[in-house]
């Protein structure tokens, strides 16, 4: 058995995360975050969203810079394709969340990652959003995520990384469980 253990370096500050876990156990009010985005319609099915500030640790926070995302629909929808389709942003969010989880869990378990590639696919029957068939839902009929991971670990250890990251993923929870949504508008 190799006594001298190498320290994995995946660029995740696990000590900070574990410290935050401990601190937020003691101060649950600081754990209450609010995530925000704004969006403005441009033209047609094209809109532009901006992500800038959020609330957490008891105060307003800011990203290092404002990030903008163009959302549109492809040309076969008779649109201009100025950006990703909104449903594709869901896949982007899920991949971003799961991969971040994999890196964090790997770091915590001292597993060196060399590459983590995810391929996502979601099925959707357009008869739902087009109102052709009431029995068909608007959204995805399922999402499949395929991970190709090269790491210093056994296949079971890699499977456990992927499983644990799902268990602790916000976006995985959001897409697998119902969420109450309130949409309001200002009075004209």
């Amino acid at each position: 058995m190799n006594v001298q253990e190498r320290k994995a370096e995946n660029g995740v500050n696990v000590e900070a995360l574990l410290g935050a876990r401990e601190a937020l156990t003691e101060a649950p009010e600081a754990a209450a975050f609010k995530w925000r985005a704004t969006s403005e319609w441009i033209n047609g099915t094209h809109s532009r969203a901006t992500v800038d500030g959020f609330f957490g640790l008891g105060e307003e926070q800011k990203h290092r810079q404002a990030f903008q995302f163009d959302a549109d629909h492809p040309e076969i929808f008779a649109a201009e394709d100025n950006g990703a389709t909104p449903v594709e942003f869901i896949l982007v969010g899920l991949a971003g969340c799961l991969s971040a989880g994999i890196a964090s869990v790997a770091q915590n378990r001292n597993i060196q990652l060399r590459s983590v590639k995810a391929t996502l696919e979601a099925g959707m029957d357009l008869q739902g959003i087009l109102g052709i068939d009431d029995a068909v839902r608007n959204g995805f009929d399922g999402i499949s995520v395929y991970y190709e991971i090269d790491a210093d670990a056994t296949p079971d250890e890699i499977a456990a990384l992927v499983a644990q990251s799902q268990k602790r993923s916000a976006v995985f929870d959001i897409v697998t469980n119902p969420t109450d949504v309130t949409v309001t508008t200002s009075k004209a």
Binding site: A160, A163, Q166, T176, P178
Partner: protein
């Protein structure tokens, strides 16, 4: 001073043990061996919750040879079998006689409050004054029902694992069993066998074969040292304490009870019950992942058994190592079902919590959980016994009482020595 405080107490002792289950009785024996004056107050009879709060077909999850208490062992003819509820009652009652515990039965503790030099234990039959209290009232007092239950339509009958006795209690029609611990799986199987279609909602769970390499899985758990694992060895002690009971059943045939077995019997598995909206139950899309987590965890456990067997030179005494098929999940598990038209009954097998509503001492955290360090409660002279992983993984097992009682009673003896009794006259003035 209230009138109540001036009433003559029913008795004055050094220690009041609350609950005459196996833990309370084991503590009583330790106290008797030290000639410490005490009583064991029991709301019903010895082993009360076993007599009144368990379903008919339940058997222990541990084989008979493991059922032992300090100074007392299983003496029956079937060491590899699993005790029925009646047998557990007989076993614990036998122990009460063996240790000649000073039991005050049919007496419910209504309130425990700090008093001069200790505690006042108010009961339905008078108050007791004591220097120390041991709460051995069990961990499974109150069924935990998730908040989503608020949305269940009135046309659906509901009951918890505590009220469930047998399938004859249930209306005809399909049943949704919520929870995939030993309880959920056992009830699901029994109800399905009664001819009612069962749907089982599955969240995180612990999968284990009943028999591994020819030995009961509990034999492996015990001998490899896993059951002796101490709470302070865990990275996440809270998680260890919250772990649901492993999917096991104590049947004479020693059959493995897992989701594959249940699905082969026609039970439909769905994800965790995530919500109820407009009379429709919504199930989480996380079923595959919770099954994958449980499969991986089971395989790590079996790896640990194999490694232990190899290192201890017993690998040849047992059968060869094996691995079990992964949990099968159909192509598209259902994400919802109609309550009322489709499901007629919901059985909540979603766990239990202890009831300390009688404990009027400021020892609870902001979530209402008892503040204690491995059974030593955060108030002088107050102790708790028999909770899952209180000190060791085996703490809530019958055989787990021995080590916990030895350590906690030693702390209790020290406490009684440190706070040596004042002269009776002086105390009398206070009381």
């Amino acid at each position: 001073m209230s009138i109540r405080m001036q009433q003559r107490p029913a008795g004055i002792v050094d220690v009041v043990v609350i609950g005459a289950g196996h833990s309370g009785l084991a503590m009583s024996r330790a106290l008797s061996q030290r000639s410490i004056e005490h009583v064991v107050i029991e709301r019903g009879e010895v082993a009360n919750s076993w007599r009144t709060e368990r379903w008919d077909s339940l058997r222990l999850l541990t084989p008979n040879w493991m059922s032992r208490l300090p100074g007392f062992e299983y003496q029956g003819y079937d060491p590899d079998g699993y005790m029925t509820v009646d047998e557990v009652v007989d076993f614990v009652t036998g122990y009460a006689g063996y240790v000649a515990a000073p039991i005050i039965s049919g007496t419910e503790v209504t309130r425990v409050t700090p008093a001069a030099d200790g505690y006042r234990v108010s009961t339905t039959r008078g108050d007791w004054l004591c220097r120390a209290v041991v709460a051995a009232t069990g961990a499974f007092n109150v069924p935990v029902i998730p908040p989503v239950a608020d949305g269940v339509p009135t046309s659906v009958s509901q009951l918890t694992a505590r009220e469930y006795r047998n399938p004859a209690q249930l209306d005809d029609g399909a049943v949704l069993v919520v929870g995939a611990s030993a309880t959920g799986l056992q009830l699901a199987q029994e109800i399905q066998h009664s001819g009612r279609q069962v749907m089982l909602a599955v969240g995180e769970h612990v999968r284990m074969p009943r028999v591994y390499r020819g030995r009961d899985v509990q034999w492996w758990m015990l001998n490899s040292g896993i059951l002796d694992q101490r709470i302070e060895e865990l990275d996440d002690p809270q998680r260890g304490r919250r772990l649901p009971s492993p999917q096991l059943a104590g049947t004479p045939g020693r059959a493995t009870l897992d989701l594959n077995a249940l699905q082969a019997q026609g039970i439909e598995t769905v994800g965790r019950l995530a919500g109820i909206r407009d009379g429709k139950a919504l199930f989480s899309g996380s079923l595959r992942n919770v099954c994958s987590l449980a499969d991986l965890k089971m395989n790590r456990l079996l790896d640990a058994f194999d490694e232990w067997a190899e290192c201890n030179g017993i690998a040849t005494d047992v059968e060869t190592a094996e691995r079990f098929p992964a949990t099968e999940i159909g192509a598209s598990p259902r994400l919802g079902c109609d309550l009322g038209s489709e499901i007629k009954t919901i059985v909540w097998a979603t766990g239990f919590r202890p009831d300390y509503s009688w404990l009027d001492v400021p020892v609870f955290d902001r979530k209402g959980h008892l503040r204690h360090d491995r059974g030593v409660v955060d108030a002088p002279g107050l102790y708790v016994l028999g909770l899952p992983f209180l000190r060791r993984r085996k703490s809530s097992f019958i055989h787990g009482a021995e080590d916990d009682v030895r350590e906690l009673s030693s702390d209790l003896f020290d406490y009684l020595d440190r706070t040596a009794r004042r002269p009776a006259a002086a105390i009398g003035g206070w009381w």
